[in-house]
Symmetry: C2
Subunit: 134 residues, 2 copies
Amino acid sequence: WKVGKINHVAMAVPNMEKAASMYRDVLGAKVSEKMPQEEHGVYTVFVELGETKIELLHPLGDESPIQNFLDKNKSGGMHHICIEVDNIEEAIKDMKAKNIRTLTPTSKIGAHGKPVIFLHPKDCNGVLVELEEA
Amino acid sequence: WKVGKINHVAMAVPNMEKAASMYRDVLGAKVSEKMPQEEHGVYTVFVELGETKIELLHPLGDESPIQNFLDKNKSGGMHHICIEVDNIEEAIKDMKAKNIRTLTPTSKIGAHGKPVIFLHPKDCNGVLVELEEA
């Protein structure tokens, strides 16, 4: 398997309209509509900036996986980075062989309809790293 | 002025060798040598992942601007994102007109020899945003 480009950098934001406006109206970037991702417990907005996007995340529902992050980071902050791989199952085998923990035992289908897996921040220098099959 | 691509995502790391090894030996990315940036108080390593790089930062000297971040985030973490602009002086004028604060009154020469400026995290949804003239 081979590593590819950075697909996106995800930021959790307390106010989606304000955050989208900052990227659209202040920086002049192309910004998508706000989309509910029911199965992931988040609203998403994508900011297009070349081949790597910024993904703005805001909680959806009572058990959103980013609520805890926003409770600790009230102004918002960088939440994770998503790196593409060409073959996620081979990449996962290799992570396990190299003692990099994954947050789930197997890959899941992510917001883009592609299989993804998260690597444990403690094994990635304090950074939550998502791998996504390109 | 126009916004461009994401130049890099910077991560502060407590152990540069371990961090570089994770990207080089586990993920298989191309990783630069460790470089001292005396005037910025950091060591840098660049990880090449398509057109957006990861910049690994480790403190250099007693007054490194990232020591405080590492004191609060002992495992490391995402520190800032750098977005390219085609004309930084025009961009700075526009930021001021739109009430986005900058951390310094004027641009400075950054690690790549290009003028850069940092925007205040409080005006950018909790995220430290660097603008770099491409």
